[in-house]
């Protein structure tokens, strides 16, 4: 007879709540980027509005995790599962906040014609979204190989960020009237870079979940 079937069921539910939250955040990032690229203000506003659902899910995850700690006195891997669910939910919530920030930048730029066609920023977004997907897959499957693979990509995103900022700032002298747009696009790069960092943090949490060891993959 399984001795902790109910607890196991609750741990599963906690994980699936978190996966639901993660997929909503991932979707929010994509939608925010589409809104930015297509200059779709309505879509951007929708992303901003939908963030409250993600925040609500984070609260539900927190409440459930605390209830399980109080009720089940978890130890060892059970405790790590709950601890990591709490931490990952907070990373995912921050990612969703970044999606909101990108959407706000899209609103700030509005319908002003882009100084050039956006190519590198969508590329950077692809990389960041790859990392998001990998970090969540690593969490779902408790796979440290995927977690490490995800974290390795962070350097590349950091480099893209540095390069893009330089490039964007270089446009200001020739396009002083587009300074606001250029600054907003630079912000978007920063938000994408942060999303990649949150993915790396999730990857670190997966390694802690599986091995019990804390390592810094950002170093």
């Amino acid at each position: 007879m399984s001795t902790r079937a109910n607890f196991d069921q609750n741990l599963k539910e906690l994980k699936s709540m978190l996966l639901k939250m993660a997929s909503k955040s991932e979707y929010a990032i994509k939608e925010a980027m589409i809104a930015l690229i297509n200059q779709d203000i309505e879509k951007a506003k929708h992303v901003i509005k939908a963030d409250s659902e993600i925040n609500e899910l984070e609260h539900e995850i927190n409440d459930k995790a605390l209830l399980l700690i109080a009720r089940e006195s978890p130890v060892a891997s059970d405790l790590r599962k709950i601890n990591v669910a709490l931490k990952v939910s907070s990373e995912v919530e921050r990612m969703a906040d970044m999606a909101v920030n990108i959407a706000k930048s899209a609103v700030h730029i509005g319908e002003e014609k882009h100084i050039k066609e956006l190519v590198d920023i969508p590329n950077m977004m692809e990389r960041a979204l790859d990392m998001v997907a990998e970090s969540i897959t690593a969490y779902y499957s408790e796979d440290i190989t995927i977690a490490k693979k995800c974290a390795e990509k962070d350097d590349e995103v950091d480099k893209m960020f540095g390069r893009l900022i330089q490039e964007l700032l270089g446009y200001i002298p020739q396009n002083p009237s587009s300074t606001n747009q250029i600054i907003q696009l630079a912000f978007v790069c920063r938000f994408l870079e942060r999303i990649a960092d949150h993915s790396t943090n999730i990857a670190e949490n997966v390694i802690y979940l599986v091995t019990g060891q804390r390592i810094d993959l950002n170093a």
Binding site: S2, T3, R4, F7, S73, P74, V75, A76, S77, D78, L79, R80, G212
Partner: protein
């Protein structure tokens, strides 16, 4: 027996095997126990944890048909090999059991019993020991006005603290506790746990417990026994956060077997 050597280990058990008749109840146990630490022993029923703790003061000798091999070094002396004065050994290694078991005597006489058989006669000395022992277990304020009342009139939690005081009265080095709170209500249990944390300033404590939260709250080291084997011995924080053996993990997370 010479007491007070300056090794870190008060007990050093080496390759200890124990049989009850044909039944091999402890298998090649190697177990150092450090001074002034609380060591908790956990494991399912029948794993050998109570057997093990009873070897430390040779209470196990009271069970018929017991055979032991290996070493139980107490302050550098192997109590299995040498001619050991059992009364003296148990003076240094006190024991408390599941349920308070006061003698059917007064509170005072319960505490004074050990010192008396070890030759303390003067009333002033006995008074001092009784007072100090009761203070050590935080029972003094509750019983100081009725020291000559029957000990069996105390509550379960008070009886257990009295028994701890009785064990402390002979000034032991080590206090063995075999599930000391399993028969107590939650508040009495917490009082005993607080007491354990205070007593470890002066004594080495080995506690057998079925309550894993208790082990995690009061102990410095935790040992996990299974079917007569010592599976894992490590710092309590490691055992409860990231044990090395999957059997330990299975037991402490309640998914054992």
């Amino acid at each position: 027996m010479s007491i007070g050597t300056l090794t870190r280990e008060v007990f050093d058990i080496k390759d200890l095997n124990l049989w009850y008749g044909e039944h091999h109840a402890l298998k090649s146990i190697n177990f150092p126990i450090n001074k002034k630490e609380v060591t908790a022993i956990i494991g399912p029923s029948g794993c050998g944890k109570s057997t093990f703790i009873k070897t430390l003061n040779l209470m196990i000798n009271m069970v018929p048909n017991v055979k032991m091999t290996g070493e139980i070094n107490f302050n550098g002396q192997n109590v299995l090999n040498e001619k050991i004065d059992l009364v003296d050994l148990r003076k240094h290694v006190g024991m408390v059991f599941q349920k308070g078991n006061p003698f059917p005597q007064s509170i005072y006489d319960n505490i004074a019993y050990g010192p008396r058989i070890h030759g303390v006669k003067r009333k002033k000395d006995l008074d001092e020991i009784v007072t100090k022992s009761l203070m050590d277990v935080a029972l003094w304020d509750e019983v100081k006005d009725r020291l000559h009342a029957p000990a069996l009139g105390l509550s379960g939690g008070q009886q257990q603290r009295l028994c701890i005081a009785r064990a402390l009265a002979t000034k032991p080095d080590v206090l063995l506790m075999d599930e000391p709170t399993s028969a107590l209500d939650p508040i009495s249990t917490l009082k005993i746990e607080e007491l354990i944390l205070e007593l470890k300033e002066k004594y080495t404590i080995v506690i057998v417990t079925h309550n894993m939260q208790q082990a995690s709250r009061v102990s410095d080291k935790t040992a996990f026994f299974l079917m007569g084997e010592l599976i894992e011995l490590d710092s309590t924080s490691t055992i409860f956060s990231n044990p090395k053996d999957s059997r330990t993990e299975g037991y402490i997370t309640g998914r054992f077997g």
